[in-house]
Symmetry: C2
DNA sequence: TTCATAGTTCGATCTTAGTCGAAACAAGAG
DNA sequence: CTCTTGTTTCGACTAAGATCGAACTATGAA
């Protein structure tokens, strides 16, 4: 037997189509129940249950019991990053499985990556923050500058609460469609919430797609343009 | 059928133990023949041949024919990054498959990550370059500064040749053992070559382990301390 | 030429694991 | 309590694919 991390085990977990569908669905960021995930994967509940327990045992999923429901979500952001990397390699290798339609460009334009904004709009947000000096990069990770702190507070976001979390405030995340960096971390999540809260955009149901309204796009440009 | 990149396909490719062993072996950076990879994976040549053709069809491997040998290597650095991410999630989820021994700490200390230095020593190298202002980070990726250019040229490395390559000069790579950034890209590869060429360290045969000599360590500290 | 080595293809075997029907279990709702 | 809904467990079926022996091709060496 060889040494080192057992990559085959967890790759095999992701390697089953049904499980991959579930994980992709969970990239949407919301916790889903076993039944919803079964529908998402296109299998019966029994099969889904088996898959979900394997994913949980493998450390890829976290489970939250609530009443008689069990809400599943990705175990941590590392798993989300791994899935995003996989997508990057898959598109690069030419392994798409789509009937080309209007959905794909929309996803490339704006989508959620677990809990923050990705796609073209996500990149724009990141680069705007960088260009205005609100964030700076250090040792591979973005960091909020003093100017950025006042900017974020000026948006009405509770900076202390965000920073108090165990999760890092800023994190770089690589986009599979654009192959560039966008902003993850609790700040990335808070900014997406801000976009929702102001009515600039909303999620399309059971999809990763984020749809901006015309006025929302203007407001976004005004704020991060 | 769902849209989006087909992550299940390539995850399944990595998910077979024999193939995972081959890929891990190729993380050592050197191109290996089919027979060598068969030994590495612990299967016969026939089986290995079947696996290798699948990996190549999946876009994970590149093949180079030379005489009657076929040299296999990872298709690109994205694949190497993906494997490194997988290792990160695997160790985090507690899926190691080791008989704990002297090998593991050695790997954490210094090893090759495809073609550049990783582990504790890799981190030190990166942070030294950053602290001295030889590289700076921008949009998530490190970039060589003007001061860094003179520094690199001062080491005797052919900067123009490195920059001429299609491959990026500097690239951030995440370490699975340290969970921090080290330097990849053609400069990262050149610096590892530099370490070999000066006799500061050498590879342990058929392992990712990099062994520094006592004097090599001193020279490394003097140069990047 | 003959021989040796590297690698692939074919065919057969066999194990693994994904799948679902049926039933059991768990937790509200009425 | 009963009824309903969400989820898991059990058991059996099935299909996919990993494996290897043997034969075949290809390239280089003598």
């Amino acid at each position: 037997m060889k040494d080192g991390p057992d990559i085959a085990h967890i790759a095999a977990l992701i390697g089953d189509p049904a499980r991959a569908n579930m994980l992709t669905a969970l990239m949407g960021g919301m916790a889903l129940t076993a039944t919803e995930l079964a529908a998402e994967a296109g299998v019966t509940k029994q099969t889904a249950s088996s898959h979900l327990s394997k994913l949980e045992a493998g450390g890829l999923l976290a489970i939250r019991k609530q009443g008689r429901h069990r809400y599943y979500q990705l175990a941590d952001t590392d798993v989300a990053h791994l899935l995003e990397s996989l997508m990057g390699v898959a598109v690069r290798a030419g392994h798409m499985r789509h009937r080309p339609g209007p959905k794909d460009p929309a996803l490339r334009h704006a989508r959620v990556c677990y809990d923050h904004l990705a796609g073209d709009m996500g990149i724009r947000l990141y680069e705007s923050l960088l260009a205005k000096g609100h964030i700076a990069e250090q040792a591979g990770e973005p960091r909020l500058t003093d100017g950025g702190k006042t900017f974020i507070s000026g948006l009405g976001l509770p900076l202390e609460t965000l920073a108090a979390h165990r999760r890092p405030l800023c994190k770089a995340c690589l986009d599979w469609s654009e192959r560039r960096t966008h902003l993850a971390g609790s700040l990335g999540a808070a900014l997406l919430d801000h976009i929702y809260a102001n009515g600039w955009a909303k999620r399309r149901d059971s999809s990763r797609e984020v749809i901006f309204t015309a006025s929302g796009k203007q407001a976004f440009e005004a704020c991060f343009g």
